[in-house]
Point group: D2
């Protein structure tokens, strides 16, 4: 999540391709050429979306690098339910194994897993926590290869720390370690920012595009991807934070639609609801309270007509004096991060090592 | 913060008396009888507000128990600046000593400090963290009174844990320990919920009203206050979380005023701003884009006329499907909690023990 | 482990009844009347010893309160092997359930589990760590009894902290909470001191004698047992530390026997060993190096004849200037404590709640 | 401390040059050529020893690499006394600054500080804990050099983790990062093993010899020193653990002397001591209990004549079946490590950055 530090273009505010695509579609009101998207909700509680950004033009449209993005969304992941976590770990391991296969990464290829982020900042500790629970084997291959059983891949792992602690760009550390340890591919794990609170800690994104700190902001910080490392770089990310201003923005957007299209219904529903159950309610709305069609049109025209970008900028400017332009995370962040780190570590151990499966993977994580 | 678990009346959503008072004033548009308020910003960077809820009527109006509330607001407390922290600790110790004096609590009175909250949930760990850094002396008075120097009060401390971990109401644990250890007064430290992100981790509230879990919701959970314990109970609280929906609500309220009164100016300002500095801007607004007075009035009529309570309920209902009714905390919660816990522990050690001062208090905290 | 603070009689130095009994036997060279002992090693890797101190006379002889002691010894518990941990958790749950039954504690009896010790001192954090992983239900019985399924006992839990943090005797806190929460019996979990490094983190002791801080030292600190609480108190302890001087003492005792009986063989064995494998060896012993029978007798007479107590006192006096009279714990203490806390929490959850078994108990611990 | 993993030659068992030198002297009974040693106890509570291993021959004799070793011994460092810690931090900063100067390392030279060790194993977490509290500046020099004030050196830092977590040799990670980040010299911080409990957590060793994992054991693990990195490597180490068998060995050695020379006096002293103060004492020794001169000679001949190496090997062989060949650390390890890590971080910040001094250094550590 280090790359958010110099996030000058607040307008980005999402590291998830599915969100970026949604946003772009809202503005275009038509499908975007060069984007291929497939949703799969065949398994209960789990929605898997595969999104392919096929060319530079499409990449520019949605603000995400060309490549493959796979998103696993599990709203119940926040329930701290062990059986859901096991289910997601298993699905993750299957999807990740397929992802590797499609990239032509076979079982004999050596993996280096990099846990990005700051272990002292709970919502940013995802990467280091996954690394702690990985089954690493590279040293066994080096020091005592005869002891390594069938079905284990050569895996190493690293938590490089963040710029504020090391003073060294993460990418420099990774480059140096890759040169010395010579893996065949790299897996980077990072905490992400989302636009929507409901995606925080419920969504896992896998992509083959690598890591691009503060992308597009013309800074000097280097990407960690195939073009810079010379080997495939797969990024695994989980949104753990959201900008307060995007919560507001999205709520207003939602409210605008709601007001415009269904204010009448909403007020009527509210009348029913309130009368029966809510002590705070004093009296129902009369029909006269309801806005006439004309007012609603005016309202829509007033705010709704602002281009998305400008509306957001306006909200941003307005909220800054309120001190509300903070990055926030759910109160239960400690539990959430631990749970999702366990899911990813378990899933990675299974998909990287054929010999690790549902029966024995618990032995490898804490 | 345990009392938020069964917070059925979402409408409360603030544990700060100054916020509750602000809200009540917004609705009344006049000063509330029975409320005495005094603000003191004589010291740079620090604003101290003293608020006295003088009777039951006033208490009902603002939704806070009758009693004295002292609030220390320091926006810079979030900057992780050691010199600011030292300054606030010192001010806190002076204010807290005065607060004790006004309650008639003299130096010979024995204190029990109770650190409420869950040590496993970072934004709720404030109380236990303060307790860890207190200078406790009760055992010395009991076991080796001759070793206790001049200027030290009899102080004990307890972190009772939360209902989900113990299965026992916090109040029951505190009652039991008070009966056995017989302090003369109790200090409860707790993490609070605020309405405003800018108050999170920048505000300390001291009150003589004790702790009232899920107040007013008719639940069976007992208060920890003078009426239940028979001795004075002073509560120290710091808002560490905010409901996502109140962020939205307050932003919308703010925006409404902004839209209504200054949309024209805002757009004009935006034009200037954007043209010079923002690459995202495509073109300035023309004067024709600006809403005419009629539209603005309609807009105000449409949303602005909703009573506060109903507007909030509406936002709540609307946001629930977005999964956005979460309690959130700033991403940097680990650092914030550590910093403010240190401020309070240092301040308490100084005000409870005359012999502890600016020169030596660092030795007692970690 | 708090009671070790004022451990003036260093001669105790073991909280394990089996060790105290061994020591007493060494000095008596005959079985002690009033001690009933039964060892059971029917299950591989696990040795269970049941020891009954039947009267005050026997208690005085071995320095342990009259009552039942059950010890589970598992040398492999230190191997960090998940399958061993599961096996021990299961055995513990069976033994503990039987222990409850023999005390006449039926399924409807309410339990309060007290995690003694200091969570900031890793080898003393066992009790608090077990408490964190317990399935507590008392609040459900109180607030929503209809939601509690069949097969769950009323369980509450508490980590009272230690005297240095609270300033209040642990026993006072427990008494107060017991009076308010009214359990039918109490389970206390504590880290212990052992005489032998090989028992550290490999041994679990269950007893019905309660907790006796600094027993026999005439201090003012109160016991937590049936006589003080009025309800059964079961203690569960795991040795996590050992006094450096007892390591030395036991090694010397062992060496004395070794020297006396097998020095010749040892040196001969050493010759063989050294010649083949050890580069440090310069040359073998000649037969002339071996001590004759007379010398060996003299040696035995010299040191071996000292009474156990005096030999220990001598070692203690000798070592003090070396600064070696520290309490030590294995370097891997973090892992050990986590593992054994998990074993006990899992075992307790299963034996306290009939509805928790091997299939689902993992969901209740972290 | 990672290099202890494959410590096959138990005979080493000390990472401290002063201990190695003491041992060598005990065996030689004369001073060793090529060793220059100077002790300085001009400052109360602090003993500084400078030891220069001047050539390969001397290095072989004491088992330590040729180079300079500076040892700061502070028995009171274990007292958790803030004023002692401040005093040691200040002395450390002065000594370390001199050490740099003598190596010709000027203020403009860029430092990389490497925190060796495992953050999950408390006694091995020293290095990572120091790194967390360093004032790093390299990123400021790179990204915004104009913001760096006068008196700050270019400092970066890294906690590479241990082989069991990363699967990569620490030296490989350091080599890779040095190549990319191009420091002028490296400082490695590591937890050490000592022979003596009284040196654990009371001693800091600085040397210019770098880090040599499992030295001399013919393993494949690479050193981190000037010969492998091409730039000066300064090692800072603190003994945090001791082998149980060396506690025994040293105690026996000490006892042997004691028995031989002063058993009579000891028993007489014991008589006096016991009669007055110890309840356990039954009756004084009669003069007949005391060993005659002949017995004492025999005893000395029996054990005392064994060469040091063989005596240790014997103890090792004897103790193995007792399961006592563990590495141990004092029970209070958490506090000790935190305290000494703070001392080193504070001292390093002062000696690396001229602008950091006693007045402001607290702001840079937690």
């Amino acid at each position: 999540m280090e790359h958010n530090i110099d996030l000058s273009g607040y307008s980005i505010r999402t590291d998830l391709a599915v969100e970026a695509h949604e946003l772009a579609q809202q503005q275009n009101e038509s499908s975007i050429p060069g984007i291929w998207l497939q949703a799969d909700d065949s398994e209960a509680d789990i929605k898997v979306t595969r999104l392919h950004v096929q060319n530079e033009e499409a990449a520019k449209q949605i603000g995400k690098m060309p490549g493959h993005y796979l998103t696993i969304e599990v709203p119940k992941l926040r329930d701290n339910d062990t059986s859901i976590e096991e289910k997601v770990a298993q699905r993750f391991s299957v999807e990740f194994a397929n992802f590797l296969q499609q990239l032509g990464i076979t079982e004999d290829k050596k993996a280096l897993v990099v846990g990005l982020g700051n272990w002292n900042v709970t919502p940013d500790a995802l990467g280091p926590m996954v690394v702690e629970n990985l089954l690493v084997t590279r040293h066994l291959y080096k020091l005592a290869p005869e002891t390594v059983g069938e079905g284990y891949r050569d895996v190493s792992a690293l938590s490089p720390g963040v710029l504020g602690i090391t003073g060294i760009e993460t990418s420099e550390i990774v480059f140096g370690v890759v040169e010395k340890s010579k893996p065949d591919f790299v897996i980077c794990i990072d905490a992400l920012a989302s636009r929507a609170l409901h995606r925080v800690n419920t969504t896992i994104q896998i992509s083959d595009t690598g890591i691009h700190p503060g992308s597009g902001v013309g800074n000097k910080r280097k990407a960690i991807d195939q073009s810079t490392l010379g080997i495939p770089v797969i990024a695994i990310g989980v949104p753990t934070v959201v900008f307060a201003s995007t919560i507001v923005n999205d709520a207003i957007t939602y409210l605008l639609g709601h007001f415009g299209q269904s204010m009448v219904e909403s007020k009527r529903a509210y009348n029913k609801l309130s009368l029966s159950s809510l002590p705070e309610r004093k009296e129902p709305y009369s029909e006269d309270d309801l806005p006439d069609m004309e007012s609603r049109k005016t309202f829509m025209g007033l705010v709704g007509s602002l281009p998305e970008e400008e509306k957001r900028q306006l909200i941003h400017e307005v909220l800054r004096p309120l001190g509300q332009d903070l990055v926030v995370t759910p109160k239960e962040v400690d539990d959430f991060i631990e749970g999702v780190a366990n899911v990813i570590a378990t899933g990675l151990n299974r998909s990287l090592h054929r010999a690790v499966d549902e029966g024995n993977s618990a032995s490898y994580t804490h």
